[in-house]
């Protein structure tokens, strides 16, 4: 049986009806991993023994007639920058190659309470800094749609597990698009919740004012299901919001009548691949036919968002990554004869080049004499970008844009850093403004998935989930399996 292709909500039904067992399901997914992982390379670490023990525990609960949570006994994959007690958490860096966390992230604690199953930890760009997974110390993950292409990043491993049938659901993290862009490149659903919806406790900090954990799944229902578990206030994260968490699955109505969808004209301009544009134009027409009202809006500071982000995120990263000094955990150069020499040597040998570039860029923009010109300026422009969204939302209920201006591109490491940064143009502004954003499969261009991004008002995940669900149910794009071609 090909259980590994199913969604979490379908499998939950089967478990409850005792048509399948969790052990059978978990073994089925591990068999799939054994079959395709050599080509996809989505995982950094697998944890089969514990996963099967947990599956057996859930099977006993079901046999005893206990009620189980929607994710109980359903195997998922966790991005390797999310702390899992007792299970190696590397951030795909040599720096943390052997780190055995002493505590669980808040989201992991919540998922464990629901008796879910963790298959293993997935590959990412080192410390989540990148858009391709190519900067991982453990090697690149390959796109299940064409193994010669990148899966996107930084949550490329989590997205690839879903597309390749190597997990039923997964968690990623999103600082500038790291959930939505890989979801787009691999034909998955990925949602970045409102900043503060999900506790960041235990998500290794990259840029603390931007980072947010969220699910990557096969369909919108599963995304809402995972959100239900991971959202909520946490005293360990002072930026987690003390607000009620709705049942997100209740928002999944197949109806967009009367919804006003805004199209920010700046997102449909130069640089957008015409084939991606054509797919989105069709999606917009579909929404209109389903009863939504389409309005054109403007976000005039969009062109400044990428560089604003590439000042603010490295600045925060340079402070966050100062903790890696070789003293308490992580890689240490054992030959150094003085403490300062040890710190410099450990960092130089433990970090890859993209991480070093961002730490240094951040150090520079925060340094005396440059702070006002770069960092303060960028924080002011961030205000302008936020206000653009506030204005736009006076005219519409949600925004529709491409998730990325392009489809997945070749793994060759030939692009220079700035060219790759520029491709984050559609996702970055959403993080700067703290808004929720979802990427849903919108169709195909030359056989590769194209993602559509829906952006909501602060704390209004429900409207974008509803619109995403309505579109998804009217199409079959999310049901097409990745062919694992190429090479």
């Amino acid at each position: 049986m090909d259980l590994y292709k199913s969604t979490a909500h379908e499998l939950h039904e089967k478990l409850v009806k005792k048509e399948i067992s969790s052990v059978e399901l978990t073994n089925n997914v591990y068999d799939r991993i054994a079959e395709v992982e050599k080509d996809v390379k989505a995982y950094v670490t697998l944890d089969k023994e514990n996963a099967l023990a947990q599956a057996a525990k859930v099977d006993k609960m079901i046999a005893a007639g206990e009620a189980i949570a929607p994710l109980a006994g359903i195997p998922g994959a966790i991005k390797d920058n999310i702390s899992t007690k007792g299970l190696r958490t590397t951030c795909s860096s040599k720096m943390l190659e052997n780190l055995n966390p002493i505590y669980d992230a808040h989201v992991i604690k919540k998922l464990r309470a629901d008796e879910t199953i963790f298959l293993g930890k997935t590959n990412l760009d080192e410390f989540a800094m990148g858009s391709t997974t190519e900067t991982s110390y453990f090697g690149t993950t390959h796109n299940p749609w064409n193994l010669d292409l990148v899966p996107g990043g930084s949550s490329g491993g989590s997205a690839a597990t879903i597309a390749a049938g190597e997990a039923i659901w997964s968690l990623g993290s999103d600082t500038g698009g790291s959930i939505r862009q890989p979801a787009s490149f691999t034909g998955c659903v990925g949602i970045k919740p409102t900043y503060g919806r999900v506790s960041r406790y235990g998500c290794v900090a990259f840029a603390s004012s931007l980072d947010q954990i969220g699910p990557i799944t096969r369909d919108v229902t599963d995304a809402a299901t995972v959100l239900n578990t991971i959202c909520g206030v946490d005293p360990h994260d002072s930026t987690s919001l003390p607000v009620d968490v709705p049942d997100f699955t209740k928002a999944l109505k197949q109806d967009v009548k009367g919804l006003k969808i805004g199209l920010p004209k700046e997102y449909f301009g130069a640089g957008l691949d015409p084939k991606v544009d054509a797919v989105l134009k069709k999606a917009i027409a579909d929404y209109e036919a389903m009863g939504a009202e389409i309005v054109e809006v403007s976000l005039p500071h969009t062109e400044y968002a990428v560089i604003t982000y590439y000042i603010i995120a490295p600045a925060e990263a340079s402070a966050n990554l100062a903790r890696f000094d070789g003293v308490r955990y992580g890689y240490r150069n054992m030959k150094a004869t003085s403490a300062p020499e040890m710190t410099t040597a450990s960092r130089t040998e433990g970090f890859g080049s993209e991480v070093k570039r961002r730490i240094m860029l951040g150090t520079y923009v925060l340094s005396s004499g440059y702070y006002d010109a770069y960092y303060l300026k960028a924080m002011q422009v961030r205000t302008l970008i936020r206000k653009d969204f506030e204005e736009a939302f006076k005219q519409c209920d949600l925004l529709l844009t491409p998730t990325s201006p392009v489809v997945a591109y070749p793994i060759d490491g030939k692009m220079d850093p700035l060219a790759i940064y520029m491709l984050d143009v559609c996702t970055i502004p959403v993080n700067l403004a703290g808004l929720p954003g979802i990427s849903v499969p919108a169709g195909f261009a030359d056989g590769l998935p194209v993602g559509m991004q829906l952006i909501g008002k602060l704390l209004d995940e429900e409207t974008i989930l509803r619109a995403a669900y309505t579109f998804e149910q009217a199409h079959d794009y999310h049901k097409v399996m990745a062919p694992l071609g190429g090479k």
């Binding site: 308490r328 054992m334 403490a339 205000t383 220079d416 703290g434």
Partner: protein, 95 residues
């Protein structure tokens, strides 16, 4: 050029990093490329605009002062590269 190889060397020192001689030129070039691009921000007049450090309206988050169990010494040291007498061991700090 915004920064020279000498500036990059200094920034590396502040960051507790070393950039090898062989990569210095390319690194400096990429650094300048990014900083030159940042010039577009100067097109915007931001006088008097409040900076956004954070999007949430939260400031101090307080809780009751109740003691809870912390991390034990043994667990805290469990990932340390070198340990001595229950502490983190490092090479000599002061010559």
């Amino acid at each position: 050029m915004k920064v020279t190889t000498k500036d990059v060397e200094y920034i590396a020192q502040l960051s507790r990093l070393t950039i090898p001689e062989s990569e210095m030129e390319k690194f400096t070039e990429q650094f300048n490329q990014i900083l030159n691009y940042a010039d577009i921000l100067n097109e915007l007049d931001t006088k008097g605009i409040e900076p956004t450090a954070h999007v949430l309206p939260l400031s101090n988050v307080l809780r009751e002062d109740i003691a809870v169990e912390g991390v034990s010494q043994e667990v805290a040291l469990s990932n340390a590269p070198a340990v001595h007498d229950g502490g983190f061991k490092v090479p000599r700090v002061i010559e």
